[in-house]
């Protein structure tokens, strides 16, 4: 049985039309503002700079609108390395060549323009400004914080479209819809907790919902209680980006100070995303070597109450992990740590396994450990086979339904 955690609900359940977006956000003016900018755009006019907090649908709106009005969308992510020449080439190509069939025109979208920093993007902003002025196709951009002084030149050549945080009730409405599609009966109070904790960030709300509800038939307040302790997801993404792109040990070591995440939570995020970030086996092995070292020192620190060891934990998990790279930072889609949810589930299964072992141990004159290694594998087979022996066994061992389900599940 494969565990279907691969498809993020943020993808699976994202709105696919302007109407659907409006249904969620109400008659927010930014939708119409963007649509009318695009429809009326002529060469020489301003670009559109969409701004607002993460997870409110900036990128989504651009994608949906482009699709609905048959624009060919050329998307560039800020985290791609982009020197002036790369930008020029890409945008230049797009603005000069003729569109593919069916597409009305092209729409260039530069996501996360406030991510243009450092030496690699040197000249990036200037280049964009130049392109906006010359471009024969509309250019849209998105940013979280457009008021950064270095973005000033961009603001001058753009119309500004503000996205607000989503209202709690809008989020609840959407979460309900997802639950209905997934066949989950959700307690409204649980959805409210998720929505409130998301602080208007739909993406994190949907991610939280998935983490708490996937695979369940019911979602209760209990299922979401662990969310409260967790920090905002986008912060974690930002921290990861900072960490993985750090070129110097000190930059990496500083990421913890720059975030609200505690080191154990960050460790979880790093663990989840290391294999996504480092695809080269050499880099990955090295990075994991240091993450594992961090974990070992975390254990030593806690066991012996030697808190001064913390510095090593942090050095290994930040600098150790960041210095493993041999190639330039590459933009990576990070994921939410599934571990919390998975471990909760795994723990539940372990408890069931242990209680079965206890019952076998009591009747078969052996230890629970031996019951686990010597008996359970065969009992699994018996439960999977068509014979009736399993009924007798359940009765004899006095197994309850969850235990029977556990034994039947294999194969």
């Amino acid at each position: 049985m494969s565990v279907p955690y691969h498809v993020p609900w943020t993808e699976k359940h994202k709105p696919r039309s302007i109407a659907e977006i409006k249904e969620i956000v109400g008659e927010a003016d930014y939708v119409d503002k963007f649509v009318s900018w695009l429809k009326n755009w002529k060469p020489g006019e301003k670009a559109a700079l969409l701004y607002g907090p993460p997870g409110v649908g900036k990128t989504l709106l651009v994608e949906v609108v482009a699709n609905e009005f048959h624009y060919e969308l050329i998307e560039l992510n800020a985290s791609d390395t982009r020197t002036e020449s790369i930008l020029k080439r890409l945008v230049g190509q797009s603005s000069q060549t003729i569109s593919l069939y069916g597409a009305k025109g092209k729409l260039i979208f530069l996501d996360e323009v406030d991510g243009l920093t450092g030496t690699e993007d040197r000249g990036g902003i200037g280049a964009i400004v130049g392109l906006v002025k010359e471009s024969r196709v509309p250019i849209a951009m998105a940013a979280n914080d457009p008021w950064d002084p270095k973005l000033r030149p961009l603001r001058d050549v753009s119309i500004m479209i503000e996205f607000k945080r989503l209202r709690t009730y809008s989020i609840i409405k959407h979460l309900k819809k997802i639950c209905a599609r997934e066949g989950i009966i959700a307690d409204e109070r649980a959805l409210k907790i998720i929505a409130e904790l998301s602080e208007g960030d739909m993406r994190s709300a949907v991610n939280d919902l998935q983490a708490a509800a996937q695979g369940k038939k019911r979602l209760t307040v209990n299922d979401v209680s662990w969310l409260r302790a967790r920090n905002r997801q986008y912060q974690a993404f930002d921290v990861l980006r900072m960490l993985f792109s750090a070129k110097r040990c000190d930059d990496a070591r500083n990421v913890l100070n720059a975030s609200l995440l505690d080191y154990e939570t960050l460790m979880l995020w790093i663990d989840e995303n290391l294999p996504r970030q480092y695809t080269d086996p050499e880099e990955l092995a090295k990075a994991y070597y240091y993450l594992a070292r961090a974990d070992i020192f975390l254990g030593r620190m806690k066991r012996r109450q030697k808190w001064e060891l913390l510095k090593h934990v942090i050095d290994f998990m930040t600098a150790g992990v960041a210095m493993a790279k041999t190639k330039p930072y590459k933009f990576t889609k990070y994921g939410f740590p599934q571990k919390l949810l998975l471990m909760a589930k795994a723990k539940q299964m372990r408890t069931i396994r242990e209680s079965i072992c206890e019952k076998i141990a009591a009747k078969c004159h052996l230890s629970k450990r031996k019951a686990s290694t010597e008996m359970i594998p065969f009992i699994h087979v018996i439960y999977e086979a068509p014979g009736l022996a399993k009924r007798e066994i359940s009765k004899w061992l006095n197994l309850d339904e969850s235990m029977e389900a556990f034994l039947k599940k294999q194969g």
């Binding site: 049985m1 070992i296 571990k339 299964m349 069931i352 078969c364 014979g387």
Partner: protein
């Protein structure tokens, strides 16, 4: 018999001998144990031998015959690998030994199974307990390896060595069970069970029952099918994925093992240890991997994070795999 209870649904219990005479092989052991029964007296005993050779059964038969109907009141069965530490054992033994034995045997018996799981510290403590209660209590200690039992305990016990069962012994018992259960056990099936289980009677009987659950004759095909299923293939696949360089997919397998089978990190590393030597890779590489397995195992024993350490292990495998391929 005093132990008329519902018929056990698992054959290892259903066909566990109830009398010393029914025990397969181990003739010398059985003859000497029968002498103890006649004399209504036993010394401390230490049963040593490979799994599935009848040690626990012999201990149980001995107390059944010794105490007859009163065996439940006079026997305490403990498992050293389950009881939390020697302190618990001491408390339970103390409470138990305090009461007087019922019937015509002047002592009670404590069966302590899987003693080689005990630390040497705990064994020293056990030695003291054996001495403190010698007037009222006898111990039957059971272990796979005698060498793991400290000298002072060995010297206080009569030691019985259980030998590996022969193919004929196992075959005879399996045929008996098959006849009782009305199962068609073919010669090929028998051979296959022997090949998989060797002289381990428990495993042999488990294989037989699981194979019989499919309803048809128990032949080599069903036996190998059961043996394959009883050994999850996930671990093998996980190792292969990692060696190919797909750490994400390999990690997903780890999660599946934890969720579907309720296995802990330690369980998984134990299975990895077995599977490494079955991989189709150059022999020296197996040793290199075993080195990584050992390190990971040690870290988990020390209480490290399962997920991080296992994934770190998989990442090392991916690197090894790449090095070998290129």
């Amino acid at each position: 018999m005093a132990f008329k209870e519902e018929i056990p649904a698992l054959w290892v219990e259903k066909y566990r001998p109830k009398k010393l005479d029914e025990i397969v092989n181990q003739r010398e052991v059985v003859e000497r144990l029968k002498k103890f029964v006649e004399e209504r007296n036993i010394p401390h005993l230490l049963f040593v031998g490979p799994p599935g050779t009848g040690k626990t059964t012999a201990a149980l038969c001995l107390v059944y015959e010794l105490y007859g109907e009163n065996w439940r009141q006079n026997v305490l069965e403990l498992n050293a690998s389950d009881e939390r530490g020697i302190q618990t054992i001491r408390e339970r033994v103390k409470d138990y030994a305090r009461t007087v034995a019922l019937g015509d045997v002047p002592f009670k018996t404590i069966i302590l199974d899987e003693c080689d799981a005990m630390t040497s510290e705990a064994q020293w403590s056990l030695r003291r307990i054996m001495e403190m209660f010698w007037r009222t209590t006898r111990f039957i200690l059971i272990a796979n390896y005698g060498s793991r039992i400290i000298e002072p305990i060995q010297s206080r016990c009569a030691i019985f060595r259980f030998s590996m069962l022969s193919k004929e012994d196992v075959a005879e018992r399996l045929k008996f069970i098959a006849a009782q259960e009305g199962i068609n056990l073919t010669q090929e099936g028998l051979e296959a069970i022997w090949y998989v289980a060797g002289g381990d009677m428990r495993r042999a009987i488990n294989l037989l029952q699981a194979a019989a659950a499919y309803g048809g004759p128990v032949d080599d095909v069903t036996v190998y099918k059961v043996a394959g299923k009883a050994r999850p293939t996930e671990v093998h696949e996980m190792l292969k994925l990692a060696l190919k360089g797909d750490v994400m997919a390999a990690r997903q397998k780890v999660y599946e093992l934890m969720i579907n089978y309720g296995l802990s990190g330690a369980d998984i590393i134990r299975q990895i240890h077995t599977e490494v030597f079955r991989l189709d890779i150059p022999e020296p590489m197996k040793v290199e991997i075993e080195d990584l397995v050992a390190e990971t195992d040690y870290r988990l024993v020390e209480g490290a994070n399962e997920d991080i350490q296992l994934t770190a292990f998989l990442a090392q495998l991916a690197r090894l795999g790449k090095k070998t391929a290129g």
